[in-house]
């Protein structure tokens, strides 16, 4: 009995230690965002208000939001269509294989590849090319989320709808969608998070448009990090955690309603 308890303590201690290492890096930007010379003269939030004075940065925020929303709409839609195709056709391995491919390509390779692809097709870098890269990166995650939800949906309901005379569209919108929509919302939030946190792929295809992430990245490479950069990072971490909370809420709600 004593040995079993010892093992349990060891197991939980191990999990806690791993979590400590995973969460430790979330703290320094927060602490550093209240440091620097500006805070002494301009008050505790000086580094945060400095963000608002940077026109280039505000533009980057706008780009991030637009691209993020595009990704959050397009990726789940494509993922839903692909997941439907996996179920309808009997060749799931090929579709799953191709859609999960971006997960296994190094970020920079994917960036270079898409940049060359657009360059040779004569498509100039715009918000759409940035969104395209981010959609490709978010797609495997969105796809897995939607596949999981659709696996829990019993297809008997669809057959019942067909037998009652409903067409495929009506069966989907009235029967299936209400049951899987939490998964689609989840995939959308997931895609938004992925988009907000993407740097390397975006940096290669961005052209003249910075997202917040690539702005921080190029700022670091050119002149290093300033306290207001840390304030920005803190906001990004906070935003990501907030979205994750939203995700957890959707998940919890869809579970308690069943």
């Amino acid at each position: 009995m004593g040995r079993l308890r010892g093992m349990n303590i060891l197991a939980w201690g191990f999990l806690a230690l791993v979590l400590l290492f995973l969460y430790a890096p979330l703290a320094p930007p927060f602490i550093k965002s209240f440091g620097g010379p500006n805070v002494l003269t301009g008050g505790l939030l000086a580094n945060y208000t400095a963000i608002l004075d940077d026109a280039r940065l505000l533009k980057a925020v706008r780009v991030s939001v637009i691209v993020g929303l595009m990704t959050a709409v397009i990726a789940p839609l494509l993922a839903l269509l692909a997941a439907q195709a996996v179920r309808s056709w009997r060749r799931p391995r090929l579709i799953v294989g191709i859609l999960l491919l971006p997960l296994f390509i190094p970020g920079i390779s994917m960036g270079v590849a898409t940049a060359l692809f657009f360059k040779l097709l004569g498509i100039p870098p715009t918000l759409f090319t940035i969104a395209a890269v981010q959609v490709l990166w978010a797609l495997p995650f969105a796809f897995l989320v939607i596949l999981t939800v659709m696996a829990n949906f019993d297809q008997v309901y669809l057959e019942a709808a067909y037998m009652s005379g409903a067409g495929p569209l009506r069966a989907f919108f009235q029967i299936e969608l209400p049951q899987i929509h939490s998964g689609i919302t989840g995939a959308a939030v997931f895609s938004l998070i992925i988009s907000f946190n993407e740097t390397i792929r975006t940096a290669i295809v961005q052209g003249g448009h910075n997202t917040v992430q690539t702005y921080i990245w190029s700022h670091y490479q050119q002149i290093g990090l300033s306290p207001s950069m840390y304030a920005l990072m803190t906001l990004m971490i906070g935003g990501t955690l907030l979205l994750l909370g939203l995700l957890a809420f959707f998940d919890w709600r869809s579970r308690t309603r069943d």
Binding site: A11, F14, L15, V18, L19, F21, L22, A24, P25, L26, P28, P29, L78, L81, A82, A85, V86, R87, S88, R90, P92, V96, G97, I98, L99, L101, L103, F104, I105, P106, G107, I108, S109, V112, A113, T114, L116, F117, L120, L136, L139, L144, A151, G167, P168, I193, I194, F196, N197, E198, T199, I200, I216, W217, Y220, Q221, M236, T240, L241, D251
Partner: protein
């Protein structure tokens, strides 16, 4: 009958077209990159050709050292990640109460979704000469002066890589482990096998699809790394991704394409191996339903 044929055709179009476009956007760039890797660099641009110059530049110069280092760092850091991710996944699958599983998995996923470059900047602060780790060590008199090897070292790079990519490796392993039939374990127990032999002969082999998928993800991510090596490795510490970005900086697109293609090619070989060894439906069976 007529209606169902029209339905099948519509479905083919509605589902097939977007899928085709998506596939083209995923596979097309990789093929174009492969083609460009044989092109000739010309001034600030490039022109179509079929030469091996970029590959000679890559395999013949000092970049070969970068390739060797990337391979070694990727293999060894993947091994470390597996040694951490496997026990975590095992504990989550076997020790954590079923109703808590999602919460615990979520706790491990959350930091992975925070931009890893921000997390890497944070490690640079934590490990620096004036950072909290060194200050604590000096304060406890464990070391007379701040340790130099904490930052801009192999140690820092490994720490950065492991914390960046290990969290995501927990999921495929957990997926494999939680799909194992309990009857197999019971059978082994009834035949009188001790727990460690059951683990070695039954659990571990059956979890291999997840382990292998996780390993490919970890390997590829570390292999093509840019940010962790730049921020935590210090000047001169180059992994394959840094070689690509320095080729981009001097506008040598064919070289960047060649290095990229080598990385993608290695990934494809490993994925094909995975595909031949394991049945993807066995692994994703829970997710994909009973197709």
């Amino acid at each position: 009958m007529k209606l169902s044929r029209r339905f099948a055709l519509t479905r083919l179009l509605v589902l097939g077209l977007p899928l085709l476009v998506t596939a083209a956007f995923i596979v097309g760039p990789l093929l174009i990159t492969l083609a460009v890797s044989f092109w000739r660099k010309k001034g600030f641009g490039m022109e179509p050709d079929f030469i091996l110059k970029s590959y000679e530049l890559f395999f013949g110069g000092p970049r070969l050292e970068v390739l060797e280092r990337s391979l070694w760092v990727a293999v060894s850091s993947t091994a470390i990640m597996l040694l951490i991710a496997y026990p975590v996944a095992f504990l989550v699958a076997n020790r954590v109460r079923a109703d808590l599983t999602r919460v615990v998995l979520f706790l491990f996923a959350a930091p992975f979704l925070v931009n890893y470059i921000i997390r890497t900047f944070a490690w640079a602060d934590i490990l620096s000469r004036t950072g909290p780790v060194n200050e604590t060590l000096v304060w406890l008199s464990l070391t007379p002066e701040p340790l130099d090897w904490l930052l801009y070292s192999d140690f820092a790079v490994y720490l950065g890589l492991v914390t960046a990519y290990m969290p995501f490796m927990i999921f495929p392993i957990w997926l494999s482990l939680s799909g194992i039939e309990h009857r197999f374990l019971e059978a082994s127990w009834m035949l009188g096998e001790p727990p460690w032999r059951t683990f070695w002969r039954v659990t571990l082999p059956l979890s291999m699809p997840g382990v292998f998928a996780a390993a490919i993800f970890g390997f590829v991510s570390a292999f093509g790394e840019v940010a962790v090596s730049l921020i935590l490795g210090g000047t001169g510490y180059q992994l394959l991704g840094n070689a690509v970005s320095s080729a981009l900086n001097v506008l040598n697109f064919p070289l960047a394409a060649a290095i990229s293609s080598v990385a993608t090619g290695m990934m494809l070989v490993m994925l094909l191996l995975w595909y031949r060894l394991f049945d993807i439906r066995l692994f994703l069976g829970k997710i994909m339903g009973r197709n």
